[in-house]
Subunit: 341 residues, 4 copies
């Protein structure tokens, strides 16, 4: 079978590099072009030396016609606000488009406008929310995906099964999330300077200030989720520690873990674990480790999910969506084991 | 004025070393002796090279009579269960004793027995809980302190003022805490091995399994606190992110911060900050940074405290107790600024 | 074509886990058995949670007959001194054996005895030194490999081409090496405790004390190499910074880089880079980045090599040897790009 | 005795913050003013939250007259090239000035021009090189100091005693240095971005490209020193690993350590250690740990120095110079023990 040609638009960021790393080992695709703005004109290995000797392609200035001529699939790893016009250009030219920005993730235009301060793109109505394990329908043939980011993916993978099964209340949910620094991207800022974030931990965008909050609420059918992101001195990884009220306080603790096991019993990329999950065990993989327990004194459910923010939280998830859309095996190019240590 | 001679029992652990670092720069005490079990017979600098050229003392085998002969104050930085007999020996010989173990922290013997699985030491009834900012009475002249550990100190410093002022409900509290690795002590274990804990974050002793839970409840007068400790890849620091239900959902968010400011307005070692606190800013200091905000959508109070687990969370707090007990200035030896970066 | 069954003996250490990670994605082999001593009887995922949901095999007690019955190839990732008897048992049963210990690396028995303090195993005379890029002959059909460790591989990959081409003197070489902590293995020790090695750098086994020194000398045909290993606060990676005397002080600096490029022009897993190499760019890969420059004032050659100590410095190199021995493509299972960031 | 008023010019960088941390605990000075350019108009605690609740001063725009009115001593922690005009303004107004830039460190104008590409400031002829342990004369009364940076201080502290005693050749010296990231300052750059430098090690400015090289040569009276700086994933610390040719190859190894001990026997802030020094043991202190050994096979001396790049490598050293210039005890404000862990 011929390999499907794919393009990566936004190849000079961390998500772009992770897409290339995964696509290079994918047995059914071939990388047909790299596009970027700031890095246009440079060779990939000059921007990301890990590709030296392995993938020698130039990063080119974006042209929708050119991408459409070369590729059948496009991954767009662009900043929020810049993405949807480019996505539209590619989608209308017939490509399958995986948008990794937030531009198309919220279905309610008013919610988008409230949180992002600008008009929603109507294209959002045609995009599938690209979290395959939670999609209620087959993704085969779908041509447009709004791939969720790392925080919502982590929170949703462990909370959605419990909410949907009616085991926990959709109200009063708390998501206390801990992220590695690569989630902030490659542009140097005071908040990502080594000496500022090394050997310390802190929260940011506290108290309903983080834009991932409405995304979590949308997919859970919940309102007023408390979401507190924290920055941890590591490059990769997200751990979401979630607190929820059980619908039946007398239900035994094992029920929560069993609900997760039942929900994911046929999904190859989510594993229910018996001990609190560690982001180090899923680093570099497209796997999520989920866990749930009941605090027997407080009658509160504590549910956790660990994943790699650049893998299952971004690039890997986009590849997984492509696999399903094109009818490839779901784990094609995605079955690498976490790099531990 | 003559300097008061002090002894450190348990000088070969991290808390012992931090005590020595602080006491060396304390203007009103002199280090009269170091005691340890495993390291007895060694010079301090062989065990902790940072003291080379600065403090050249041997670590000696413990003898209560010998300590009593040399010192007026003893800091006991010993493992739980080993500490209280030694504390008793020193206390009955007339010394002021700062016990940094958990042996004497719980006032209710039944609670102690439930969580620690052995009989409580009746000496606990005579010990002051050594968290000076929350003590309701002067500590001058007090001779026995159960100095709290890092997790309770962090949670209590920010929650107690809010609970005591009636601003948040004492029921339903959640403490999601993030700790550096030095809190686990100096003995090498799988859980503290660099390659296991580097570049990852995970929770441990989840769902009412951690022994600091009852200590937090005792001092808050709260029941069934949810306490979830996490390990973060850094050596020092505790961040407690706490979630609480406001008693009046319509109360404006500024009220919580103001309550903290009011509570600490005359306390030199706790600072109310405007942005989410970072453990990196209090590293090596005896200072706590506290913060509170209201999530306006969920009507939930988010309160945080950052401190150094070896400083305000252990050694520094013990020195602060000694200062108050002996009538020294509260900040004597404790006014160093956090080492950032 | 049927996949070749392979066994991993010593599956509970970091090198064992890395072997399994690589072999799982190798298109021409199948994992036929895992063996270990301490972990015998446990499931792999209980020992290494990154395999949960991906490889569910037990770790079994070693039996040479059983391994021989199941597998055609055995990787032995065992401690020095314990390895060679097991290697012999498997080799005499007809398996292709990749020994990752130091037991068979030194060809001169007297040198082995001097540095290791026990008698050399005569089997060493039959083992190929498993550094494929430097082997002077084809490895196809070779059945026994002494796979070199991370330090010699890093030093040799950049120094051997320069020495062999006569560009630098074999006398007076200095290798200043910086290693991540995973090179010390998984057993917790004071020297690998997070709080001891985090946020610091130090040398160890200085001044002809490290056993990798004679291995470097053997393969270079050099004597009295100065080798200084350092421990750096990261999990993976080796950087060897080497200093050498040019044979002709007037030779232009570009000659050294060109010699490397010439030497490696047909080797797929070593890349000559233009800027000083960074271990972060080869993390998780089987690739080495090499670099050389001339200090124009001091007339000294500075040559560097960066690799992953668990990849090209251990597990990856062993897989590469197997590939060549069995006639597989050299990069089979080894073409993953470094995981950066 | 009245405290001496001191000013810090350049208070918004890491060296400025470290100066303030040290000066705050100095018993004989008082901080009279903070000056900065970018941060002018802000409160110190807004720029460096570790000072919240401890030092509440504004950062002001620089005015030489104003500084001279308020302070007797000025510390200038400014970028190279910007510093010397300000230093001159303060020096001519009668202040004692500690210049932490490179502007005045090189005595030979031609050397300065070669390495910095601009004309040397003649004021350099009046500045004392501020490395007190190596000054051949008393510093009492000296009013102008060019305080050396972290790399030269580390290399010189261990090499100068050996060169001066005639134990090692001044030719052929190699300095392989490993630095924490804070040495690069507080301005965010690609090279100091957490995800770029975490979990990796690399050299930079290799082969006679780093401007600290001539400074090392000047103070050693050596020519053509090979100096290779490396970046290590930690915030603070410098380790210089130096290689030198003994003048007498038959001299016993103990002689080198003894020479260091003899040289530093009356110096309170340099300690000769028996094991390879670790930067973690001097973190936050003004102490240097030095070490020397002979490789008995290669007949090469390996000499090391560990210090804190912001302490003894910058701010601490400047305070030490001030102490000597003003006749304070050398260790005033500088006797803190390294913060380990």
């Amino acid at each position: 079978m011929d390999r499907v040609p794919v393009a990566v638009v936004g190849a000079s960021g961390y998500t772009g590099a992770e897409l290339l790393r995964l696509l290079l080992s994918h047995p059914q695709v071939v990388i047909a072009g790299l596009y970027g703005r700031r890095a246009a004109g440079e060779r990939l290995a000059a921007v990301f030396p890990q590709f030296a000797g392995r993938l020698d392609l130039p990063i080119e200035a974006f042209s929708a016609d050119e991408v459409a001529r070369r590729a059948q699939v496009a991954f767009c790893a662009l900043p929020h606000g810049e993405s949807s016009p480019i996505v539209r250009d590619l989608y209308t030219r017939g490509l399958t488009v995986l948008d990794l920005s937030a531009d198309l993730r919220l279905r309610d235009p008013a919610t988008y406008e409230t949180w992002y301060g600008r008009a929603a793109d109507p294209l959002a109505q045609q995009a599938a929310y690209g979290l395959p394990e939670l999609a209620g329908h087959p993704l085969r043939g779908q041509r447009l995906f709004a791939v969720p980011g790392c925080y919502p993916t982590a929170a949703l993978l462990v909370l959605a099964p419990l909410v949907r099964a009616g085991l926990v209340e959709p109200a009063g949910l708390i998501v206390d999330a801990k992220s590695g620094v690569s989630g902030a991207g490659r542009a140097p800022t005071a908040g990502t300077h080594f000496s500022e974030v090394g050997e310390g931990v802190h929260a940011y965008q506290v108290a309903a200030a983080h834009r991932h909050t409405p995304e979590i609420e949308q997919e859970l059918g919940a309102s007023s989720v408390v979401f507190t992101p924290h920055l941890v001195p590591m490059s990769r990884g997200i751990l979401a520690t979630c607190y929820a009220q059980p619908t039946d306080p007398e239900r035994p603790g094992a029920a929560y873990r069993e609900a997760l096991a039942q929900f994911y019993r046929e999904r190859p990329l989510v594993t229910v674990v018996d001990a609190p999950p560690d982001t180090a065990h899923v680093r570099g993989s497209n796997r999520a480790h989920v866990f749930a327990a009941l605090d027997p004194r407080a009658r509160r459910v504590i549910a956790m999910c660990a994943l790699d923010n650049l893998g299952k939280g971004a690039a890997g998830q986009a590849v997984q969506c492509m696999n399903l859309a094109l009818g490839f095996p779901e784990t094609a190019g995605l079955d690498a084991v976490g790099m531990f240590p």
